[in-house]
Amino acid sequence: MRRRKSLVALAGLNALAAALNTLPVQAAVSPEQESPIHRLHEIRRAYVDALGQEKQDDRTKVAQYWGNFPNFPNFPNWANWNNWLNGWRNF
């Protein structure tokens, strides 16, 4: 059901994009605004929804895990979320 919802949302987005392409104001949309970063949250929502329940459960565990570190609520740790990444840093 989650996947279907996300696909409906994406289909809606695609339809919206197609509709926008037919509008005369199309030229007002700058190439910069067409960058997918401006749709980051929509893309993320669809991606996460599509991951399925198994990943959702993992996400809950990770949220609980980071709840043990209240001093740094702003500190991310993608690497620990996905253990495969451990040891891979950009230095």
Binding site: L7, L40, N77
Partner: protein, 398 residues
């Protein structure tokens, strides 16, 4: 952010302890930012023990905390030294914690003895390799100017023959951007399936990059998009660190709430130089010099403590300026949630100040990567309806 200036606040924050067993490197890559590459001094076992003690006494270690041996060619120091150093560090680790170690090498010195050591210790191995010989040998040279590709490949073949898992970190410069297929053909044909991409950066004493040329951002985006495509088509699938990292970021329950990354929060990364100097923030700051920040050292082993570091003039100069730069990124950049404020060392080298925003490093390593990965995700979403198989997005499992 004043609450950070309390030693207890930093408990559990350090992800990486970067150890420089020697500054010496047996080769002389043209884009290397490390100073003192001719200095053969080796770290003492006691300094290794002191470094671990500093982390554990202050409780800095985060879950998943890893020790990385790097910042010079670490295989110049022989396995017998590492056996002593690893044992000394383990002795002072909290009970029940087995310290994970990783090493980043140029691969020139890998031999049977090293393979035995890697298998015995479980040390994770990263090899620096820029792709096929044409690209690699153009920049990664011996001190006499010869290419190093042949010897590195012999080392890699040895790792593969012995069953030592490893990943590759490849530096991407301007010539690589036009050679995505050649680059991926090379890795695929050699059975290499874990790759990280570092751009040719402007950092420390390196003031220019081939990627400064006009059109590099579009070129990098196109290169990375093609690399993603080739990686997902490969059998077995090739894992790209940048893509996996961005997917992990999207999957994180904390997405959108984080304000800092490991390079711009104090003690997120701790670097220990060969002589026991302590550094934090970007590891590349270690060993370089600056008019206002000196050599960026925040303390000296043995005897350093978090409270003394927080009160030190160097830390007090670094942190407010770095934090101000992060704040400006947060307020001005649409990529903030996937980058979290950039790399201080790149800001300083490119913009002359930590209190600044966009860099070439941001535009390529974060923005172009995000553009390519997000566009790829968007392109894949509708197809899921026909092929909803598990792992259709290629997300790496643990």
């Amino acid at each position: 952010m004043a609450e950070f200036l309390n030693p207890a606040s930093f408990r559990g924050v350090t992800q990486l302890l970067i150890m420089q067993p020697t500054a010496f490197c047996n080769i002389d890559c043209e884009y290397c930012y490390l100073p003192n590459r001719g200095d053969r001094t080796a770290m003492t076992v006691e300094t290794a023990r002191d470094a671990a003690r500093f982390i554990f006494d202050a409780g800095l270690n985060a879950p998943g905390f890893t020790v990385v041996w790097h910042a010079g060619e670490p295989l110049v120091v022989r396995p017998r030294w590492y056996r002593l150093a690893l044992a000394a560090m383990q002795e002072v680790a909290p009970q029940g914690l087995t310290l994970p170690h990783a090493i980043q090498t140029n691969g020139m010195l890998i031999d049977e003895e090293w393979c035995d050591f890697f298998l015995e210790t479980g040390m994770r191995v990263g090899v620096s390799l820029d792709g096929p010989a044409r690209l690699h040998d153009a920049r990664r040279k011996t001190r006499s100017g010869q290419g190093t590709h042949g010897r590195v490949m012999r080392g890699i073949e040895q790792l593969q023959r012995r069953g030592v898992a490893f990943h590759i970190i490849a530096v991407v410069g301007r010539p690589t951007l036009a050679a995505a297929d050649e680059f991926m053909d090379f890795f695929q044909s050699h059975g290499i399936s874990n790759i990280g991409l570092n751009i040719e950066e402007i950092e420390g004493p390196i003031h220019t990059s081939t990627l400064q040329a006009d059109g590099s951002q579009q070129g990098f985006r196109a290169f990375f998009a093609r690399v993603i495509e080739r990686a997902s088509q490969a059998v077995p699938v090739i894992r790209l660190r940048e893509r996996e990292d961005l997917l992990a970021c999207l999957e994180s329950p904390g997405f959108g709430k984080f304000g800092y990354n490991s390079q711009n929060v104090p003690f997120g990364i701790v670097t220990v130089s060969v002589g026991g100097g302590l550094f934090t923030f970007s590891p590349e700051l270690a060993g370089t010099r600056h008019d206002r920040f000196g050599d960026f050292s925040i303390g000296q082993l043995p005897g350093a403590s978090v409270d003394r570091i927080l009160a030190s003039p160097t830390f007090q100069a670094l942190w407010p300026e770095i934090e101000a730069g992060v704040k400006r990124c947060r307020e001005s950049c649409p990529y903030f949630d996937v980058c979290l404020g950039g790399a201080p060392s790149n800001k300083l080298a490119e913009n002359g100040s930590f209190d600044s925003t966009e860099t070439m490093h941001c535009r390529l390593s974060h923005q172009a990567v995000a553009d390519a990965v997000l566009a790829d995700l968007e392109g894949r979403m509708p197809r899921l309806e026909q092929a909803p198989a598990a792992g259709a997005y290629g997300t790496a499992g643990p």
